[in-house]
């Protein structure tokens, strides 16, 4: 593979878990709920995937990952949607909860015995024909199959949000829960479902980290991806296609290290590790004034 191809492949690989999490968060935020607990859903998903895949193989791993993320989102929703508690604090608590819970369970059941569980991993699978396209073929079409799922989910979500009644209801709730309620939509129910979907996708993102990438679980392996995904949603202007593009931009900043390494530049690796966060900050400043968040986002007015 050429240097450029390595860079592109790294970009898609880094973008995959971020895109899953960010797409889920997009739906939640479009319903007016900002879920900082996304980080918790991802780490819970990672742990769930580790256990699930160890017991029943790859697909059971993904299923348990999704359910784990869903469960964390349910706890968040109980406080943030049902009780109308402050979303930021409830979200922070859920992140802490999941990080603590997974670390405790992992140390209790796996780490102490010394022998970590080996789990089946999802290998890359080339799509015949498409993977032969010059430059981008290998990057886009020689990935683990879970990545291909995104190619379907993102356009489908766009279509659902902008071309269906249910999608309109979601966006209406995010703009004005009260108006949506007056129009006969159950705002609380829409917000609940949106948050749960977001948690499920966050869980899948954690599953990708374990099953398609690391091949094992490590404490705190979500490494802030939940928070990055939330920034990506802002950068992508709460639009599925925009969010996918923002995830790619962020991932490209992360994958720059492959380019620089190949060019033989002796730059300390910590600079590359920190770079994506700097890029995110600059990008957020760059889109200032041009973004319009869902009008009711983060407010906890009783609807």
């Amino acid at each position: 593979m050429s240097t450029l191809e390595t860079f592109l492949e790294g970009t898609i690989r880094t973008a995959t878990p971020l895109a899953f999490a960010a797409i889920g968060e997009t739906v939640a935020e479009r319903a007016g709920v900002i879920n900082i607990g996304l980080e918790g859903a991802i780490i819970a998903g990672a742990f769930g995937a580790f256990v699930g895949a160890g017991i029943g193989g790859i697909w059971s791993g993904y299923a348990v990952a999704g359910i784990s993320g869903f469960t964390m989102a349910a706890i968040f929703a109980l406080f943030a949607v049902r009780l109308r508690a402050d979303q930021i604090i409830a979200g922070t608590a859920v992140s802490l909860l999941a990080l603590g819970l997974t670390a405790t369970l992992y140390r209790q059941f796996f780490s102490v015995t010394g022998a970590g569980l080996t789990i089946p991993t999802m290998a890359s699978r080339e799509i015949p024909g498409l993977s032969g396209i010059p430059v981008i073929g290998q990057a886009l079409f020689a990935q683990p199959p879970i990545t291909y799922l995104l190619y379907v989910v993102i356009p489908a979500l766009w279509w659902w949000m902008y071309r269906t009644h249910a999608g309109l209801a979601l966006r209406a709730v995010g703009e004005s829960p009260r108006a949506a309620t007056a129009a006969g939509i159950s705002s609380t129910k829409v917000q609940l479902l949106a948050v749960l979907f977001g948690g499920f996708m966050g869980g899948i993102a954690g599953g990708v980290l374990v099953i398609a990438q690391a091949g094992t679980f490590a404490e705190g392996m979500s490494a802030g991806r939940g928070f990055i995904a939330i920034a990506i949603v802002v950068l992508g202007r709460w639009h599925p296609i925009g969010v996918a593009a923002a995830a790619l931009t962020f991932a490209a900043a992360s994958a720059l290290q492959y380019l620089f390494q190949a060019m033989g530049w002796a730059i300390p690796y910590q600079i590359f590790l920190g770079l994506p966060y700097v890029v995110t900050l600059l990008a957020l400043a760059g889109v200032a004034g041009k973004v319009s968040a869902p009008a009711s986002l983060g407010r906890w007015k009783r609807v």
Binding site: L83, I89, T92, L96, T104, R107, E219, L273
Partner: protein, 304 residues
């Protein structure tokens, strides 16, 4: 005697928690969501270590305040980046402060392997501070240092400021309702939030200085076991009241030292502590909501 030493350890652990807890409580009180105490603590620690390892033989009465000042200023500047981004570009501080936390982690990792690494170049940490730069021990036989007194005094100062000064009134008014504060109170809301943000960062930065000056005496990676995040629980359990932060800080100090001891004795993972912290935050939220009691100020600011 063992209990005495353990209590000392708990208070040592409580010191950065009280300082970062105050940082979070102050920011939240004014409606500034500073989730970045962790990063501000780290740059504060880095600045203190940088200054401390370069100061010559200056008397402690001058050098120690310099050390602490360096940390507070660095923490304030780190928070200032997020405050500027919010003021100029309306970037949500929740996101920017979290990003800055990660940048700080990697920056420390870079510093202790690069510019600030100890002379032999073997260990990823800075040189140790000389004896005259270390914060004095205040209780014989323990590791309890002057930082604890500083934290308690600052909590009292903050409580006094809230109650008796114009600045304190402004902070409370802005937190209670931004629009009302601006129209009825004739308060410059943006400026108040901005100042609170910097001050909050300075408090968290000071926590880093105190940790370097009183406990670790050097900068290295993982110098903070997540003090900045536990601080959120500390502040919330205290209902954002500065004096109560002392109590909740000590409570969490005992909890975390106890968790470490439990791990040693019985093999119960110390991560259980963060589990308990998270549950406590949720309980406070849940109780506050179901009883209809206003445990927290009512933020009505949107995110648009």
């Amino acid at each position: 005697m063992i209990e005495y030493i353990l209590l000392g350890d708990a208070l040592v652990r409580a010191t950065p928690l009280i300082l970062t807890g105050l940082a979070v409580a102050l920011a939240f009180r004014a409606g500034v969501f500073n989730i970045g105490a962790e990063g501000q603590l780290l740059v504060g620690a880095a600045a203190s270590a940088a200054v401390g390892t370069r100061l010559g033989a200056i008397p402690s009465v001058i050098s120690i305040p310099l050390l602490l000042l360096a940390g507070a200023v660095a923490g304030g500047i780190w928070a200032g980046i997020a405050a500027e981004l919010r003021r100029r570009f309306a970037v949500l501080e929740i996101i920017s402060t979290i990003m800055l936390n990660f940048i700080a982690i990697h920056a420390v990792s870079f510093l202790v392997r690069g510019p600030l690494q100890e002379p032999t170049g073997i260990y990823p940490q800075t040189e140790s501070l000389s004896d005259i730069l270390q914060l004095p021990i205040i209780a014989r036989g323990t590791r309890l240092h002057l930082g604890f007194v500083i934290a308690v005094v600052l909590a009292c100062v903050l409580a006094w400021t809230y109650r008796y000064t114009t600045m304190g009134f402004r902070v409370r008014a802005v937190g209670a309702g931004r629009r009302a504060a601006a129209s009825a109170g004739n308060i410059n809301v943006e400026r108040t939030s901005y100042r609170v943000f910097l001050l909050s960062g300075a408090l968290a930065g000071l926590a880093g200085s105190v940790e370097v000056g009183g406990v670790t005496f050097a900068l290295y990676e993982n110098i903070s076991p997540g003090y900045g995040y536990t601080a959120i629980a500390v502040a919330l359990i205290a209902g954002l009241r500065p004096l109560a932060v002392i109590g909740s800080g000590i409570f969490f100090g005992i909890l975390e030292t106890g968790a470490t001891a439990l791990q040693r004795e019985f093999g119960i993972p110390s991560s259980t502590a963060s589990l308990i912290e998270a549950l406590l935050i949720l309980v406070v939220l849940g109780v506050g909501k179901t009883r209809g009691a206003a445990l927290l100020p009512t933020w009505r600011r949107g995110f648009a």
